[in-house]
């Protein structure tokens, strides 16, 4: 195989709403290679979940892909027929969502659901599928996995359900795992456990993991490379260390400064970003962050391109240069 496992190129997605067309994604390009954990970080409305949904082919009915391609193993999956797309989603691409409460049907046992998730494996009998499900539950750290298979989702706590959702996603040994805010609904102690679990899993997992989160701490703990999104665009991409220590885009810097966990000394007043995210139905012509940017000047009335700063670091800002 040549090129990365996943390569999204110039993706634009619009939503039709009663208020007009919302440009949820504009010319977004990301890549994820085998064995890599890629983070997508941004605040609400930045398009990070839309991007995850587009890759997982889970966009809602009012969404329209206006431009771009999503290449997986060098094939544009947007051009595949619906059967082929479904095949791909079951076997090769799996997702874990924020809410572990709604990931499972409440009326079927965990075992029935974990067996059903393997329906594409036609050459394996049911007993073997059950054995695989049990082994996977044990692998994500659920004790008494055999007994748990006979239980229902409501009998599990939130943390256990999220572990089970991860087990379900990994059952078909997908080569791409997309985790959309996998720890947001969990307490901090369970969040730490899920971060730990994802880290252990990646050690013997050869696929790519894409983690979508608004939480900078989660991104720092898990990812190798990070894309920062703002108003439907990637504004900066960098290896995790460079992003947290040499951020170049003013939005990335402001976002990092706002995180109270990064302040070593107690502060009486917390840093904020003045203003609000732009209305995505009427985008400004220039840089979308300019109205909130302390450094904005005349140049920012023209939309900046993504500028390469080094081999793997880029930022969408007129003020940056390599």
């Amino acid at each position: 195989m040549t090129g990365p496992l996943l390569s999204v190129r110039g993706l634009s997605v619009n939503f039709r709403t009663p208020q007009g067309i919302v440009r949820a994604l504009g010319n977004v390009s990301i890549q994820a290679g085998a064995g890599e954990v890629v983070g997508i970080v941004g605040e609400s409305g930045c398009g990070k979940s839309t991007l995850a949904a587009a890759v997982g082919n889970l966009l809602p009915g009012n969404a329209e892909i206006a431009a771009g391609e999503i290449r997986f193993r060098d094939r544009d999956i947007l051009r595949l027929g619906s059967d082929a797309q479904r095949q791909l989603r079951g076997r090769e691409i799996a997702m874990v969502f924020q809410d572990p409460m709604t990931a499972f049907s409440p009326v079927l046992t965990i075992g029935e659901q974990l067996i059903e998730f393997q329906h594409q494996m036609t050459d394996v009998d049911k007993a073997e599928k059950r054995r695989r499900a049990e082994a996977m539950l044990a692998r994500v750290g659920i004790s008494d996995a055999g007994l748990r298979l006979n239980g229902y989702p409501h009998e599990m706590s939130g943390g256990m359900r999220q572990r089970t959702a991860i087990a379900a996603a990994l059952l078909m040994s997908p080569s791409l795992l997309i985790a959309d805010e996998p720890t947001t609904a969990l307490d901090v102690t369970l969040e730490a456990q899920i971060i730990y679990l994802l880290r252990t899993l990646r050690r013997d997992y050869n696929g790519a993991i894409v983690v979508v989160s608004h939480h900078l701490g989660v991104i720092a703990e898990l990812c190798d490379r990070v894309y920062v999104m703002y108003a439907g665009e990637v504004v900066e991409s960098a290896p995790v260390d460079a992003l947290f220590h040499q951020a170049r885009h003013p939005y990335t810097r402001a976002l990092l400064e706002c995180d109270p966990a990064r302040l070593d000394q107690p502060a009486e007043f917390l840093p904020t970003i003045a203003g609000e995210i732009p209305d995505l139905t009427v985008l400004p012509d220039g840089c979308s962050f300019a109205p909130r940017c302390a450094l904005a000047d005349d140049r920012c009335r023209i939309r900046p391109e993504l500028t390469s700063l080094s081999e793997d670091h880029a930022a969408r800002c007129h003020r940056v240069s390599p």
Binding site: G158, T189, A192, Q193, G217, E221, D259, A261, F269, L270
Partner: protein, 325 residues
């Protein structure tokens, strides 16, 4: 510092019925002990952070202080007066001087009423005379930095941050002495949560308010609270000055909570897990120290004997046989 709120030996329990059989076994009474023997003070002008995982009882404690859930034992003293009884009437005076900011500001506002009407509602409920409602609403909106025109909006027309501001304005409607804020920034973006906390800090100074902030966000509470109370399974396990607790937590649970918080710096990734397992069910409280099932330093004594809540300095206490040094 004068004490504004005193909570002594407060317990809350709910009767449990497990079905029809209960009707025939009168001798068996089941109670869900949600809060156990809480004693805690809030000083005038102080901000107290109430911290714990989901199910630790922190929200129930805030609600019990205002009588929104009935206490089964204990006393509450507010502004020099003990609250006699558990009825709404007993809490009426206190609720005028102590306001609650609920966790989900949009859900806690009636969707059919405009912001202006919602802001003067506390006056109507408490029978406070109001000469000019529009002017009162405008004054409250100005306090929280919103234009007067917001009085004509419905709650669903507000952004998350704006809805929180309306929640703050409504809490301040009757000039309270104390505000109980339940997760005041949950669900807000990191660039907006600072705005709300800065607003609360400014108003605290302006009006001499005291705050109880219920939260699970340790990174945030560190910057806004003077003292912390850490809860586990409905009990206080540690109380102390925020700076001291962050510098040297005494209870193993507090330390585990602090260490579980992900650090936004890839150079400081944690190598090991601070805490394993999950908070047990309160239907099945562990014997002895209730934290021993997850405690990294538990010994035999912890499995058999429940530790007392022991003071080690004024305003500092810890519930542990072997506090960390």
């Amino acid at each position: 510092m004068n004490t504004l709120l005193g909570i002594a030996n407060l317990s809350v329990s709910f009767p449990l019925s497990s079905g029809l059989l209960d009707m025939f076994s009168a001798d068996r009474e089941w109670h869900l002990r949600v809060l156990e023997d809480i004693s805690l003070d809030l000083g005038q002008g102080e901000t107290l952070g109430l911290v714990g995982e989901s199910g630790s009882g922190k929200t129930t404690l805030a609600r019990a202080v205002l009588g929104l859930v009935p206490r089964s034992a204990g006393t509450i003293t507010f502004d020099g007066e003990a609250i006699a009884g558990r009825s709404d009437r007993a809490f009426r005076t206190m609720r005028r001087k102590a306001a609650m900011m609920f966790q989900d500001p949009v859900a806690s506002l009636s969707p059919r009423r405009k912001v202006g009407a919602l802001l003067v509602e506390p006056h109507i409920i408490h029978g406070e005379p109001l000469i000019d409602r529009a002017e009162a609403a405008a004054r409250l909106l100005a306090l929280v930095g919103l234009p007067a025109a917001f009085a004509d909006r419905y709650p669903h027309e507000l952004s998350g941050g704006q809805a929180r501001r309306v929640g703050v304005a409504r809490a301040l409607a009757l000039n309270p002495k104390m505000v109980l804020a339940d997760e005041p920034t949950a669900g807000l973006d990191v660039s907006v949560q600072g705005e709300i906390l800065n607003l609360m800090a400014r108003l605290k100074g302006e009006f001499g308010l005291s705050y109880i902030v219920v939260t699970h966000n340790l990174a945030l509470i560190r910057h806004v609270s003077d003292r912390l109370a850490i809860m586990y399974l409905g009990r206080l396990v540690e109380v102390g000055a925020t700076a001291d607790i962050f510098r040297m937590p005494r209870h193993p649970y507090t330390r585990a909570l602090l260490e579980a918080e992900p650090i936004p710096d890839p150079r400081r990734r944690r190598a090991s897990l601070a805490i394993e397992g999950e908070i047990p069910s309160i239907l099945n409280r562990p014997v002895g120290c209730e934290f021993h099932t997850r405690c990294a330093v538990a010994r035999d004594r912890c499995r058999g004997q429940a530790p007392e809540f022991t003071r080690y300095a004024p305003g500092c206490a810890v519930r542990c046989h072997y506090p960390l040094e």
